[in-house]
């Protein structure tokens, strides 16, 4: 697998990533060592989903594969599940263009 697996639990696809991907269904309270810091899951996170390994403020970039995959829509603490409820795309947003009156 490309990347680095932390404690057989979280896959960090690139060293600049701030989210990890679960390699199993993980329960709330699971502890993952991330370079000497302990990330504690604050909720259950299913296989393949993402967990914050750092804390975010609203508007911060979310990075996976060493690339920006979206922005945080609210503050996210390390150990929280990162998904559509707190992270959004910045692309293909015709809704924003419409709200701004830019639509043809």
């Amino acid at each position: 697998m490309k990347g680095r697996v932390l404690d057989d639990a979280l896959l960090l696809l690139s060293e600049s990533d701030n989210v990890g991907t679960t390699v199993d269904d993980l329960g709330s309270g699971t502890e993952v060592d991330f370079d000497g810091r302990t990330v504690v899951l604050s909720e259950n996170v299913p296989f393949g989903h993402k967990v914050a390994v750092e804390s975010f403020s609203a508007g911060d970039e979310v990075r996976k594969y060493g690339e920006v995959i979206g922005t945080a829509t609210q503050a996210i603490a390390a150990g929280e599940w990162v998904h559509t409820h707190n992270c959004e795309s910045t692309r293909g947003r015709g809704d924003r263009a419409a709200a701004g009156g830019e639509t043809a």
């Binding site: 795309s89 692309r91 293909g92 809704d95």
Partner: protein, 395 residues
Amino acid sequence: MGQSFSGYRRPDGRVGVRNHVAVVPTSVAAAAVSSAVADDAGAWARATPHQLGTSQPDAARRQTERVLAGVGRNPNVGAALVVELGTEDITADAVADRIAAGGTATETLTIREAGGTAAALSEGADRLDRLNEEAQRARREEADVSELVFGVECGGSDATSGIAANPAVGAACDRLVEAGGTACFSETPEFIGAEHILADRCVDDETRDKLLERVDAREGMAELMGVDLRGAQPTPGNQEGGLTTIEEKSLGAISKGGTTPVRGIADYAEDLPVGGGLTLMDTPGYDVESVVGKVSGGAQVIAFTTGRGSTTGNPIAPVIKVTGNPKTWEKMSNNIDVNAGTVFDGESIDSVGERVFETLLEVADGRQTESEHRRLEEFAINEIQPEELEAEAGA
């Protein structure tokens, strides 16, 4: 001498890995008769039924005709019967002529002229028998792996797609391209958010500009319609599988094409080069239409990765299913050819890529894929939508 397989060399020089007789309706009005004629004949006859009507705006019609001709010209097709009701803008003769130009034996069937469906079935059976006799003259002969055009696709993606199945298929593409062959991936909406990586890999400015222009056009459709792409991309199923944004989905999706330079970008169903390296095709994100675009472009074999499980096949090209999700493999292994979920147990991407590549060669040699065993043969043609036509006219 590179690695080889045995295939059917066609008059135009390309090599088929199957020897089907295609039954191609020019519209939905001829679809039922085409399917019935092919079903009655046997597994050697493959119908390509679709839903497009007898009349379409010019640009849409030209694309449909290109797909129909491309399907008949695919080197996996030894002979083709083109079927029409007789009222279509796209005539059977026009499609048959384009197919025959490459040296493929063709016949046409007009339901109205035959005297209705019952008579058409009977005439169709006779014509198919004649075409099959013609096709059966072909014999497998040795061909070089560089003669393969390998189309790669993903559908029902989840987080494992970008971590396991797609990079493994990408490693197989890298092997094929290194050996001199062609690999092709498509689905332009799934370049959004990853296009900068692809652009950096384009061999020249022309290819780069065309790629970025196509991505802009697909993204622009969402803006034109004032909608939010998030409702459809990632799909609800993708989201359940852990994919949050289109950028994340795209970054995983592009890895199925491997890591070699992008040598070109073809239009939907446009001919793909043989020996062309990594070539992209501008298609919609709907996987069945996307596969059909590549098969019409001449791909003889498709690899289709899935995380959540997909059973999609194709009537003309064998489809190799690959999953990176261990649970999906456990539940659906009878629909899947390669298990890439082993990367979660420590198998390297390169090693899984080698298994995909070996499967590609075996399938090219004649081994049936799971979707072929089960005759799963989805077929759909992308229809250019009115909004797209307007956007093009306004551009």
